[in-house]
C-alpha cells in the first residue's frame, strides 16, 4: 500500500468502522424483539467504545486523505468522543423512558448511531460536500428522533417543525455555499482559504454567501435569531432524544464551524468574528431572559441550551486556540450535565413524580426522592456554572479565551448572563428543596436511568475537582 493510500484509509477508518457497526446494529435490530431491543443500544455503546479505543490518533497526528477531503486528527477524535459519550449516556438513560412510552425500538439507537457517523463526517470534513452530506445525515436523523414518539402529537409536531425549518435553513446554507463556491472556485476548505487570500474576498457575492452560510450554521447551533425552532423541538421531542439533541448536534455544528471558519475563512476573520459576536450577545440574552419566564422545566432547559450556545460562541469569537479548546471542553461537560438533567427529567415525569415537567410539580422532590433531587441539584448548579461543579470549568475556559482575545465586553456580558441564568436553574432547586410536595408518589426508578444520572453527577463533580484530565484531553486540539 502506498503511503497515500494508507493515509486515505486512516483518515476515514473510524467512520468506516462506525458504518460497519451501524449496519450490524440494523441487523441486530431485526434479530431482537420486545424488551431485548435495548440490546441494540447497548451494543451500540460497545461499538462506540471499540471505535474510540482503536481510532485514537497520535497526539498531533493529522491524517488528511482523499484529496484533502477528510481529516482525522485529535480534533475529530475529541469530538467523536463527545458524540460517543452523548450516545452512551442517552442510550443508558433512554431505555426506561422508551419502555414506559411503549416506543422501545431498535431504530432509536440505530438512527442515533448513524447520526453520529454524520457528525463525524461534519467534523472531519475538509470539503463542503462531505460536510454537507454529513450535516444532512445528522439532520435527518434528528428529524426522525424528534418525531420518534409517533403516538404523541407533540413529538410529531416537533418533528415536523424541526424538519421544515431545518430544511429551510439548509436551503439557505446551500444557497450561500453556491456563492462561496462560485467566488472561490472550490469546495475544499484549503482551496477556499487560498482563494480568499488571493482576492476572492473582495468579491461581494462571497459576503452574502458567507452570511447565508453562517446563518445556516447559526441555525444548527440555535443562535438567536435562528434559534426559534429549538425550544419547541426540544420540548416536543422524546426527552432522551431532546437531551441528545441539545448536546451532540450542537457540538458537531460547533466543531465543524470551528473547522470551517478557522481553515476556510481564516482570511475573512473580521467578518465572521463580528457576525458571531453579535449573535453571541443576542443568544445569551434571549436564551436567559426567556428561560427566566418559563414554567415548564423541559422548555426552560431548552432555552438554557440556547444560552449555552451563546457562551460557546464567545469561544468561537475569541479566535484563539483557547477558544475552540474551550468549546470542546464545554461540549464535553455539557454532554454530562445536560443529558443527565434530561434523563432525570424524562424518568421522573414518566414515573409520575413530576407532572408534565411543570415547575410546580417539582415541589418537595427532595423529600420524595432525595437522591434524584440531589442529582438534579448538581446538574442545575453545574449548568448555572457554580464552582466547584463542572459547568464552571467550561465557562471559565470560555472566559479565559475571551480575555485572552481581549474581548472584555463580551466576557463581561457572558459573566453577567451567567449570573442572570442562575435564577432559573435555582428555581428548580427551590421547588425541589424548599417547597412541600403537592402529592405523594411511590415509584422506583430502573437501573439504567440511575446509572446515567449517577455517571453524569459523578463526572460533573469530578471534573469540578479534577479538571486536569479533561483539560489536557482537549489541550492537544489543533484545528
Amino acid at each position: 500500500m502506498t503511503p497515500q493510500a494508507m493515509m486515505n484509509l486512516v483518515s476515514i477508518a473510524p467512520e468506516v468502522l462506525m458504518t460497519v457497526f451501524g449496519l450490524i446494529l440494523v441487523v441486530l435490530d431485526v434479530m431482537t424483539k420486545g424488551e431485548k431491543k435495548s440490546m441494540v443500544g447497548y451494543f451500540g455503546i460497545a461499538f462506540m467504545i471499540i471505535t474510540a479505543l482503536i481510532s485514537q490518533p497520535a497526539i498531533g497526528g493529522k491524517y488528511l486523505g482523499f484529496g484533502n477531503m477528510v481529516m482525522w486528527d485529535t480534533f475529530s477524535y475529541v469530538f467523536f468522543v463527545i458524540f460517543a459519550l452523548a450516545y452512551t449516556l442517552t442510550t443508558l438513560g433512554s431505555v426506561e423512558y422508551l419502555r414506559d412510552k411503549g416506543i422501545l425500538k431498535g431504530e432509536f439507537y440505530t438512527i442515533m448511531f448513524f447520526s453520529i457517523i454524520g457528525m463525524m463526517f461534519m467534523v472531519s470534513a475538509f470539503d463542503l460536500t462531505v460536510f454537507y452530506v454529513g450535516l444532512e445525515t445528522m439532520a435527518i436523523s434528528m428529524y426522525v428522533l424528534a418525531g420518534f414518539n409517533k403516538k404523541c402529537a407533540k413529538s410529531a409536531e416537533s418533528g415536523v417543525k424541526y424538519f421544515i425549518i431545518g430544511a429551510f435553513s439548509s436551503g439557505m446554507l446551500l444557497f450561500g455555499m453556491t456563492y462561496v463556491y462560485g467566488a472561490t472556485g472550490s469546495m475544499n476548505y484549503l482551496e477556499i482559504a487560498e482563494a480568499l487570500k488571493n482576492g476572492a474576498a473582495e468579491n461581494a457575492t462571497v459576503k452574502i454567501g458567507l452570511i447565508l452560510m453562517l446563518a445556516g450554521f447559526a441555525f444548527k447551533i440555535s443562535a438567536v435569531p435562528f434559534h426559534m425552532w429549538a425550544p419547541d423541538v426540544y420540548q416536543g421531542a422524546p426527552t432522551p432524544a431532546a437531551g441528545f439533541m441539545t448536546v451532540a448536534p450542537k457540538a458537531a455544528a460547533f466543531a465543524s464551524l470551528v473547522r470551517f471558519v478557522w481553515i476556510a475563512l481564516e482570511p475573512v476573520a473580521g467578518l465572521w468574528g463580528t457576525f458571531f459576536s453579535i449573535l453571541a450577545v443576542l443568544t445569551m440574552f434571549y436564551g436567559n431572559l426567556v428561560a427566566l419566564s418559563q414554567t415548564n422545566v423541559k422548555r426552560m432547559l431548552a432555552y438554557s441550551a440556547i444560552s449555552h450556545a451563546g457562551y460557546m460562541m464567545i469561544g468561537l469569537v475569541a479566535m484563539n486556540k483557547e477558544g475552540y479548546q474551550a468549546i470542546a471542553l464545554y461540549s464535553l461537560i455539557y454532554a454530562f450535565m445536560n443529558i443527565g438533567a434530561f434523563t432525570l427529567l424524562g424518568v421522573l415525569k414518566n414515573k409520575g413524580m413530576v407532572e408534565d415537567e411543570r415547575l410546580e410539580s417539582f415541589a418537595g422532590l427532595a423529600k420524595k426522592n432525595p437522591m434524584y433531587a440531589l442529582g438534579m441539584l448538581i446538574f442545575m448548579f453545574s449548568l448555572a456554572g457554580i464552582p466547584p461543579l463542572a459547568g464552571f470549568i467550561g465557562k471559565y475556559m470560555i472566559f479565559m479565551a475571551a480575555m485572552k482575545a481581549e474581548l472584555y465586553w463580551l466576557a463581561v456580558i457572558g459573566a453577567l448572563n451567567s449570573a442572570l441564568a442562575c435564577y432559573y436553574y435555582m428555581r428548580v432547586t427551590i421547588y425541589m428543596y424548599f417547597n412541600e410536595p403537592e402529592y405523594e408518589v411511590d415509584a422506583t426508578i430502573g437501573r439504567s436511568a440511575f446509572i446515567t444520572s449517577f455517571i453524569g453527577a459523578v463526572v460533573v463533580l469530578a471534573v469540578g475537582f479534577f479538571p486536569s484530565a479533561f483539560i489536557s484531553f482537549v489541550k492537544h486540539l489543533l484545528v
Binding site: 417543525k161 421544515i164 425549518i165 429551510f168 435553513s169 439557505m172 459576503k207 452574502i208 452570511i211 447565508l212 446563518a215 441555525f219 435569531p225 435562528f226 426559534m228 425552532w229 425550544p231 419547541d232 467578518l271 463580528t274 457576525f275 453579535i278 434571549y286 436567559n288 431572559l289 426567556v290 428561560a291 427566566l292 419566564s293 418559563q294 442572570l420 435564577y423
Partner: protein, 640 residues
C-alpha cells in the same frame, strides 16, 4: 504594688464567687463574700494611704502589656499616687458601708445574691478606674462603672421606669464617652502613648501647646480639642449640663446604689478624670472656660430643680447634680485640690443622706413623697440625727465637712476672677441649704401627714444604722481633719504635688477678702436654713402654696426639670427615630436600595415574559424571523 493588686482582687474574687455560684449555692450568704472582698480592698486602701502619706510611696507599674498595635503599646498598669489613694479611700469606705447597709436594706429581695454580685462588679470597676495608669484603663473602668450602674439601676428590671432609666443612663454616658473616645484618639495622636506619665509630661505638653488641629475643616487648638473631648466624658459620667438628665432618673435603682454610685463614687469619676488630667486642662484655656460654664450651669440647674421636687430621693439627686457642678466648676478654675476635697467630703455626707433616705423609705413602705411624711424624728431617732448632720454638712455650716471644701471652692473661684461663677456658686449654696432643710423639715419635723404610714414607721435594723452613724461621724470630721487650716490643710500638702497648685490668684488674695467670703457663705447657708424653717415649719403649708401660686410658671418649669427630657425627646430622640424608621429604613433601605435590587430581578423577568411571545409556535413566524435576521445581517455587513 501587691496591695494595689490585692485591692483589685478582693472584689474580683467576690464577684466571681457570687456570680458563678451565687444563684445555686451561696444565696443569702452572698453579702459575706462580697463584704469580705470589699474589706480586703478597704484594708489595702488604708495601707496604701498610710504608705503614700507617710513614706511618699508611689507605684507606676505594668502588670502586662494589654494592647499592642504597631508602635502603640498600652499596658495593663497600676498607678498609686496621692490622688489615687484618696480616691481609694473614698471608694472603699463608701462601698464597704453600702455593702453593710445593703444587708439590711435588700433583705428578702429575690435577687439578693445578684445585688451583691453587682456591687462587687461596681467596686472592682471603680477601683480599676482610679488605679489605672493610663487613659485606656481609665476608660475601661469608666465603661465598667457605667455597666454596673446600668445593672444596678435596672436591678428591678421588671419596672418599666427602672428599665428606661438604666438604658437612659447608659446611653447618656455613651454620648459623653464618644467625646472621651475622641479625646483618647487625640491623646494617642499627640503623645503616641496613653500612659499618664507620657501624656502629663510637661515638656511634651509644652511642645504641643501651640499646635492646632483640623477637624471637619475647622482649626482648633489641639489641647483644647483633646481636653474638650475628655471633658465630654466627664460631663456624661458626672451628669453635667446638658447630659445631666440621667442622674435623677437613676434613682429608680435601690437606694444603696444611689448612695454608692450616684452620689458618692461613680458620678465623681468625671471630677477625678479632670483632676487627673490637670496637666492638660490647665493648659487648655478654652476648655477651662467651658468647664466653668458647664459646672456653674449644672450647679444652678440642679439646685433650682431641687427646690421644687417632692420625691425625697430626687431632691437628693438634684442636690448631687448641683454639687457635682460645684466640683466641676472648681476644676475649671484650677482648684483641683478643692475639687477633690469636695469630692471627698461630698461622698461622705451625700452617701449618708442617701442611706438615710433609704432608711426613711424602708420605714415608709417605699414611699418617697415628702408630702406624706413628717414628724419622723421620734420614730427614727438615729436616722433623724444622722440626716440632720448630713444636711448641715451639705449646707456648709462649720465645722462640718461641707463647709471646708465648699468654701474653698468659692474662694478659689472668686480668687481666679470668675466673679460670675462665684456669684452663681454662692447663690446655689443658699439654695442648697434651703432645699436640704426643706426636705429635712418636711420629713422629720412637723406633724405626720399620713397617720397610717406614720404608725407603721420604725427605726431600721442595726445593719443599716451602723453605716449611718459611721458616715455621720465622717461627715463631721473629715472636713476639719483634712481641710484645716483653710487652703493649707493636710489635703493640700498631700495632693499638692500631683495636682498643680491652684493658684497664683489665691495666694494673692488678701486674707481679709478670704475671711469675708467665708463669712458670706456661712451667712448665705444660714439664711437658706432660716427661710426653709420659715416656709416649712412656721408657715407650712400656707407660705409654700402662696409662693407656688405667685410664681406659677417658674414653679412649673422647675417642677418639670426645665423640660429637658421633653426637649431632648423633641430635638433628638423623635427626629432620629423618625429619620431611621421612615427615611433610612422604609425609604432608603426598602424602597430605594431593595427596590433597585429587586428590579434587577424583576426587569429581566418582565423582559423575558414579553420576549417569549415572539415564540408563537408557528413555523412561519420562525422562518420569518430567520429571514429577517439574514436581511438585517446582510444590511449590517454591507453598511459596515
Amino acid at each position: 504594688m501587691i496591695f494595689a493588686v490585692l485591692t483589685l482582687l478582693g472584689p474580683l474574687v467576690a464577684f466571681l464567687i457570687n456570680g458563678l455560684l451565687g444563684r445555686r449555692y451561696i444565696k443569702n450568704a452572698a453579702p459575706v463574700v462580697a463584704i469580705a472582698g470589699v474589706s480586703v480592698s478597704f484594708v489595702c486602701a488604708l495601707i496604701l494611704f498610710y504608705l503614700v502619706s507617710t513614706q511618699g510611696f508611689s507605684v507606676d507599674g505594668t502588670l502586662y502589656t494589654w494592647v499592642i498595635a504597631g508602635s502603640l503599646q498600652v499596658p495593663f498598669g497600676i498607678l498609686v499616687d496621692p490622688l489615687t489613694s484618696i480616691m481609694l479611700i473614698v471608694v472603699t469606705t463608701i462601698s464597704l458601708m453600702v455593702h453593710i447597709y445593703s444587708i439590711g436594706y435588700m433583705h428578702g429581695d429575690k435577687g439578693f445574691w445578684r445585688f451583691f454580685t453587682y456591687l462587687s462588679v461596681f467596686t472592682l470597676s471603680m477601683l480599676i478606674l482610679v488605679l489605672g495608669n493610663n487613659f485606656l484603663m481609665l476608660f475601661v473602668g469608666w465603661e465598667l462603672v457605667g455597666l454596673s450602674s446600668y445593672l444596678l439601676i435596672g436591678f428591678w428590671f421588671f419596672k418599666k421606669s427602672a428599665a428606661d432609666a438604666c438604658k437612659k443612663a447608659f446611653v447618656m454616658n455613651r454620648i459623653g464617652d464618644f467625646g472621651f473616645y475622641i479625646g483618647l484618639l487625640l491623646v494617642i495622636f499627640t503623645f503616641r502613648s496613653l500612659n499618664y506619665s507620657d501624656a502629663f509630661n510637661a515638656e511634651a505638653i509644652h511642645h504641643v501647646k501651640e499646635t492646632t488641629y483640623t477637624v471637619f475643616g475647622m482649626n482648633f487648638s489641639l489641647l483644647d480639642l483633646m481636653t474638650f473631648g475628655l471633658f465630654c466624658g466627664a460631663m456624661g459620667k458626672s451628669a453635667q449640663f446638658p447630659l445631666h438628665t440621667w442622674l435623677p432618673d437613676a434613682m429608680e435603682g435601690p437606694t444603696p446604689v444611689s448612695a454608692l454610685i450616684h452620689a458618692a463614687t461613680m458620678v465623681t469619676a468625671g471630677v477625678y478624670m479632670v483632676a487627673r488630667c490637670n496637666a492638660l486642662f490647665s493648659e487648655a484655656h478654652m476648655t477651662s472656660q467651658f468647664v466653668i460654664f458647664a459646672g456653674a450651669t449644672t450647679a444652678f440647674l440642679g439646685a433650682s430643680i431641687g427646690l421644687t421636687q417632692y420625691d425625697l430621693k430626687r431632691i437628693l439627686a438634684y442636690s448631687t447634680v448641683s454639687q457635682l457642678g460645684y466640683m466641676i466648676m472648681a476644676t475649671g478654675v484650677g482648684a483641683y485640690v478643692a475639687a477633690i476635697f469636695h469630692l471627698f467630703t461630698h461622698a461622705m455626707f451625700k452617701g449618708l443622706l442617701f442611706l438615710c433616705s433609704g432608711s426613711v423609705m424602708h420605714a415608709m413602705h417605699d414611699n418617697l413623697d415628702v408630702r406624706v411624711m413628717g414628724g419622723l424624728k421620734k420614730k427614727m431617732p438615729i436616722t433623724h440625727w444622722t440626716y440632720l448632720i448630713g444636711c448641715i454638712a451639705i449646707a456648709g455650716i462649720p465645722p462640718l465637712a461641707g463647709f471646708w471644701s465648699k468654701d474653698e471652692i468659692l474662694a478659689m473661684t472668686y480668687g481666679s476672677g470668675h466673679t460670675f461663677a462665684w456669684l452663681v456658686g454662692t447663690g446655689v449654696a443658699g439654695m442648697t441649704a434651703f432645699y436640704m432643710f426643706r426636705s429635712y423639715f418636711l420629713v422629720f419635723q412637723g406633724t405626720p401627714r399620713d397617720q397610717h404610714l406614720h404608725d407603721h414607721a420604725h427605726e431600721s435594723p442595726i445593719a443599716m444604722t451602723f453605716p449611718l452613724v459611721f458616715l455621720a461621724i465622717c461627715s463631721v470630721l473629715v472636713g476639719i481633719v483634712f481641710g484645716y487650716p483653710l487652703e493649707d490643710g493636710f489635703i493640700h500638702h498631700f495632693l499638692g504635688p500631683v495636682l498643680t497648685p491652684a493658684h497664683a490668684h489665691a495666694h494673692e488674695m488678701a486674707h481679709s477678702t478670704a475671711t469675708a467670703l467665708m463669712a458670706l457663705s456661712i451667712a448665705i447657708a444660714v439664711a437658706g436654713i432660716s427661710v426653709a424653717y420659715l416656709f416649712y415649719v412656721k408657715m407650712y403649708p400656707v407660705l409654700p402654696e402662696k409662693t407656688v401660686k405667685t410664681f406659677k410658671p417658674v414653679h412649673k418649669l422647675l417642677l418639670n426639670k426645665w423640660y429637658f427630657d421633653e426637649l431632648y425627646d423633641f430635638l433628638f430622640v423623635h427626629p432620629i427615630v423618625m429619620l431611621s424608621s421612615v427615611v433610612f429604613w422604609r425609604a432608603i433601605d426598602v424602597n430605594v436600595i431593595d427596590f433597585t435590587v429587586n428590579a434587577f430581578g424583576r426587569v429581566p423577568m418582565w423582559i423575558g415574559s414579553v420576549a417569549r411571545h415572539i415564540q408563537t409556535g408557528r413555523i412561519q413566524t420562525y422562518i420569518f424571523t430567520m429571514v429577517v435576521g439574514v436581511i438585517v445581517l446582510v444590511a449590517f455587513f454591507y453598511t459596515v
